[in-house]
């Protein structure tokens, strides 16, 4: 799956979609494929202040626990509650139904620390 051009990416394999002051965050197709079958996602609580690139949760596959980092800082507005009953949505649709959480951006300028789809493509290889 190609990386959607409209998104920004982190070196830790998260994507972020910025819409005004709101950012929606998920993990990339490369990340979900590397992890394998996802069975549990632990996300920050709504209202929590988080810092760009901070460790804010975990994504667990059948075999392993992986840390989850946020590509942008701000206040957590919403988490994807559907993942509690259906964590496999992250595997099936990482850029859609498998989104993880939304953040009210603290500093839109943090975008400059992120990668374009083209630049992310260069690091997302086995």
């Amino acid at each position: 799956m190609a990386q959607p051009e409209s998104l920004l990416y982190s070196k830790e394999h998260e994507w972020v979609k910025i819409d005004g002051e709101t950012a929606t965050i998920g993990i990339t197709d490369y990340a979900q494929n590397s992890l394998g079958d996802i069975v549990y996602v632990e996300l920050p609580r709504v209202g929590k202040q988080i810092e760009q690139f901070g460790n804010i949760g975990v994504v667990e596959s059948v075999k392993a626990v992986s840390d989850l980092f946020t590509p942008v800082g701000g206040e957590v507005l919403e988490v994807n509650g559907a993942l509690e009953g259906d964590p496999a949505a992250v595997n099936r649709d990482p850029y859609g139904a498998g989104w993880l959480f939304k953040v009210k951006l603290k500093d839109v300028g943090e975008k400059s620390n992120l990668l374009s789809a083209t630049d992310y493509e260069k690091i997302a290889h086995d």
Partner: protein, 367 residues
């Protein structure tokens, strides 16, 4: 075969690559942890059948008139009572009763096959040779012979057309010497998944053609190559111990709940005194089966609490598709905490999550 990484490759290495396997170091070999998906492979074994490369496990051939009496002195289960072509689970212990390795003996025509865990191959080879007796000859086939397992409810039907043995006549934990696709094989009705199935001991040079033929001839029936990831979930659901987890040099077979394999009627074997004493005292920490109440998986090494106090740790844990998708685990905990129905707590990243003690196994196949 070995590589610059120092890892060995089984005879089926090239086949794994063709199926897109993700390879990991395991017991000194590059082994497939998964092909398509651990959950899909698990599903294949529970409902159709899966094909496993287990060639990392070590095969030792034991020969000579002294094998059975000699093996009795090194193991906790009975050996001399085994019938021809019978297989039997057995454990080698240290003097303190801890497990050196858990193994399967196969009594073949004129010789015995002993299958030991890949990770324990060198340790066991040393142990056997250090304790060798008159009238016993050992040969180490580790890395030369291959082991292919076909496991699942359709395994018998898939394998039958390609062997010269009536598989229905091979009872559970028995074996036959015959041919698979015209190649010599020991065909054993054993496995490590909780399903019916067979394990095929074949020459390494014949393994790739047998592997390819089985997949080709059974693709329509849903046979899938399966990795060690699926195997670990399958064995945990079936309540089977994994060496290094539920059994170690420090965790005895009695603690692991394997009393059924312990024959205290045998007069003498390494570890006997310690195991008999442990059995009589009945005050030892033991392996308990846990079902987590929440959705967070318990993982190996997580601390376990009982009545507010830390009492032990998780030894294995996984999401269990055949246990309603719940998270299951084993933990080594004191007797009081191992009581069926007891509520324990597991520390997951600083938060305690409730778990209930249940009897093992978690899963039994439908009859």
């Amino acid at each position: 075969m070995s590589t610059s990484t120092g890892l060995r490759r089984t005879a089926l290495y090239d086949e794994h690559g063709k199926h897109g396997a993700r390879l990991v170091p395991f017991a000194g070999f590059e082994m497939p942890v998964q092909y398509s998906s651990i959950l899909k492979e698990h599903d294949a074994v529970r409902h159709r059948a899966g094909l496993f490369d287990l060639s990392h496990m070590a095969q030792f051939v034991l020969e000579g008139p002294g094998v059975a009496p000699w093996a009795e002195t090194l193991t906790i289960n009975a050996v001399e009572t085994m019938k021809p072509m019978q297989a039997r689970y057995n454990i080698f212990c240290n003097a303190q009763g801890g497990a050196h390795d858990d193994t399967i003996f196969y009594r073949l025509n004129e010789r015995w096959l002993l299958v030991v865990n890949g990770a324990n191959a060198e340790k066991m080879w040393t142990h056997l040779n250090a304790n060798l007796a008159e009238g016993v000859r050992l040969e180490n086939l580790h890395g030369r012979n291959a082991l292919i397992a076909i496991q699942g409810p359709k395994a018998l039907a898939m394998l039958q057309p390609h062997v010269n043995v009536d598989l229905a006549g091979v009872k559970y934990y028995f074996a036959a010497e015959g041919e698979v696709y015209g190649r010599p094989a020991v065909i054993a009705r054993t496995g490590y998944t909780g399903e019916d199935g067979f394990e095929l001991f074949v020459f390494g040079e014949h393994a790739p053609e047998i592997w390819r033929a089985l997949l080709r001839d059974n693709a329509g029936e849903g046979l899938e190559p399966c990795g060690l990831g699926a195997r670990d979930v399958l064995r945990l659901e079936a309540g089977m111990p994994l060496y290094g987890h539920e059994l170690t040099e420090a965790i005895t077979p009695v603690q692991a709940g394997l009393q059924w394999a312990l024959k205290t009627s045998k007069p003498e074997f390494i570890g006997r005194n310690a195991l008999v004493e442990q059995l009589h005292r009945d005050d030892y920490p033991r392996i308990a089966g846990l079902i987590m109440k929440g959705r967070a998986p318990a993982r190996e090494g997580y601390a376990v609490y009982f009545e507010g106090k830390p009492v032990g740790e998780i030894r294995s844990g996984s999401m269990a598709p055949s246990v309603g998708g719940q998270n299951i685990a084993t933990a080594l905990v004191p007797k009081a905490a191992a009581t069926e129905g007891a509520t324990l707590e597991v520390d997951i990243r600083g938060t305690r999550h409730e778990a209930t003690v249940v009897p093992l196994p978690f899963y039994k196949r439908p009859k």
